[in-house]
Symmetry: D2
Subunit: 262 residues, 4 copies
């Protein structure tokens, strides 16, 4: 018999063993109650939080929700636009969150929120050298992804489409190339709009998926969180199962021999 | 709070209440042991079996597997190319299987296995008149689908792509139109190649998905059966959850205000 | 040397030799002046006109424009919903237009305007038997297309997408299958939104393309008519030229040897 | 009346006025005779040539063909993998070709041939500062494209897909974003496989298209060159014409009123 769904199939990032391959971003949640319900429904073990959200008096609640639900928090550098800003933010986050994990974001502007490759690579190199476990949010350019892996990032996180666009995976070919070329864990980050996008990401060989606004801004966030949990599991299982090839013409699933005489 | 994943959300076809929205075809299974493992992993409650497979001495085993796993059997008219053949086959199946349910297939030829609309509509009308519960396999033409529903079919089963092609849902727009126009249960049948195809079908508003060779011919059928169970659930939940809209440009999931001073 | 663009490459439908592979529909034209400019810019030699447009007092002008521009008129049965209606309309058109050519349209309803396969096949058979040269507008179902060719239609005209939708070719795989299976001229009809859709249709092996609202309802109809003329020629040439295969990875167009020493 | 196809609609790059919006790469041509026939059939006024091809004894012939066909030569830095190499190559080309135009390519490796964003931006800045007219080959990342324009490049040349892949425009959304954000001429470079790809590029707002292996490696290069000429013109005209919107449902091109009485 082949492998079964019950086999252990954990994801390991920077030495941490994860049962769930779904990571949740917290931005956009309509309320703390909704966020908590979504985290629980998602089964996620990792949650990313922007340092800026943890300013005194505002952020406490997000961390409390994370604490209550038992998830690990990975601080991110959302909003940073230069390597310098990102490094400073990561250092502040290391102190505030008592973790050397950081989801590195260095974006070009406030509208498209696309990664700036030059600043990103600069920041990634500096943070890795400084002992951080860097999970780097990047565009879907294979060259950037390879550079980030070569620099020693713990995970590479290519986008499927711009943050918050809900456009899914605009260029699956780039993801396929990245998967071929990059050995460290690959986490699809940004662009996911619905469950099938997450399933497709996993089928393409991603090791995990991060979703934020697809869940937090859905009409019913908790339902979508549950959908994403199933979707990521489905995609991972399908990836392991080995899909049938595509062909233009049909092939009968019932063999033509043995047709009942009429 | 909104609806939750734990809500009952059963599918009802012709008065039968189903918890699982995944239907399994049995064609192409490499062995009875594999088929049994796949049925169990899929959680399916309905399984389709070709009458021709139930010829004495050959078919017993498929039915035994169905019996052992507790699934209901829906006979199909696979291989029939005229209304007359299909009606005769359905009648024979009614006797053999002791059920008035029939998955109606009338195909044009042995290679493409595409539904023949004229013979199909003719057969559907006759079988409905004769008291059958007809689940009709059809192409993705909205006009055909509407005609089948108008004739009184219990479910309409449009293809995503040709049987056994693994090409997924070639024309989601047609499915969207069919969903708008047809009130009876819609079951995506044929073309599914992998889990994300099934998720997408459900997101488009299908009530259920039938897979056969995508599971039975996968490298590891049991794993793919488990994947499909998750995939269908994911798609249904996402459909109910109400996805975010697509937009070209990003929208920050972290609001720009409150950026940490550096 | 291979074939050249200057080679004669005429299209022959029902014995008529055509230099242009673009056919124009006249519906939706904002004015007769616009229609005339578009016909001239398109280089079309065939134009379809709905019989209903030729009611006394209204229609004269369309025919005058066709006469002035020297194009042949093919009457269509737009608006007909049954075989009987279509046959009667075709007969009336034969008298009014003094031609045995007819573009056969039998649609299911006034909103989707999708072909009704049963009525269409019935009408096509009757008209062919009655000596008409039938150019049949059909959906993209290969089975219907094959049946129409088998009935003796002079050309089969599958849709790319619903009339007026501008959605392009929703399912190129069906077109590819139809091209493999059907020997008579294939004219892509309906769905074209812009020039690249027409080019793609020709690359897929269509013999000609019919456009109506893509030209008549464009912001600048005459420009779009010129675009379509180029687009159809481009697609035909590319089809004959034999495109390079698709591959995931790059292949250098400059060979790596001979790199200048620096 | 609106604009017409006969209107002048020249492209201006770095002060040079071009009637043709098709640029030809010379790599991969099976023979000098084929290259010459393709250049003539394409109507191109600009042709790119790799400096390395112009080594004594080998390259003369390419330049002779360019000379004979009256096209302007733009040297490129194909094969360069660092900013330093690219700058040295551009300088050598300036002397050899007596032009300050350069098509800048800095690629990451010999297999994927994807642009290296960091080295590319570095090289572009240095060459612009040194007085070159830089046409920069880049990936489809909007951030890179904007940076190149900001540095003063004369044209930005995003890829549709990897060089030689024939995959067309993998991510039209990125191109649409680039078009919105970049004011200098945009030339689609790399990935074009067939005519419809070129038409689509122009419809998306590109100012020109560069093709190399799609023509030189086609089964009949001269035919494909002619196809590309038509395709680029078609796409430009369609872009100017203003296409109809896409809609799910049909809209009749023949108005329902005035149906002939039967």
């Amino acid at each position: 018999m082949g492998p079964t769904a019950a086999d252990g199939d954990p994801l390991v990032i920077a030495g941490r063993r994860l049962s769930s391959r779904l990571i949740l971003g917290t931005g956009g949640a309509p309320s703390m109650a909704s966020l908590e319900a979504s985290i629980r429904a998602s089964g996620a073990e990792l949650v990313t939080v922007a340092l800026r959200r943890v300013a005194p008096g505002v952020a406490g609640s997000v961390l409390e929700v994370c604490d209550r639900t038992g998830v690990a928090v990975v601080p991110n550098t959302a909003g940073c636009r230069t390597a310098r800003e990102a490094v400073l933010t990561a250092e502040a986050a290391r102190d505030a969150f008592e973790t050397d994990w950081v989801k590195l974001e260095v974006v070009s502007d406030d509208r498209m929120l696309l990664p700036d490759p030059v600043e990103l690579l600069d920041a990634a190199g500096r943070l890795v050298d400084d002992g951080f476990r860097v999970l780097a949010y990047t565009n879907d350019d294979p060259v950037c992804a390879i550079r980030l892996a070569d620099l020693g990032c713990a995970a590479v996180m290519p986008l499927g489409a711009p943050i918050g666009s809900g456009m899914g995976i605009r260029n699956p070919y780039n993801l396929a190339i990245i998967r071929e070329q990059v050995g460290v864990p690959l986490v699809l980050d940004a662009g996911i709009g619905t469950a099938s996008d997450a399933t497709l990401a996993m089928e393409l060989g991603c090791d995990a998926v991060l979703v934020a606004s697809a869940v937090t801004r859905a009409r019913h966030p908790e339902l979508m969180a549950a959908a994403m949990a199933d979707a990521v599991r489905a995609g991972r299982l399908a990836h392991r199962a080995g899909r049938i090839p595509r062909r233009l013409y049909a092939q009968a699933s019932t063999s033509p021999a043995g047709l009942a005489e009429l």
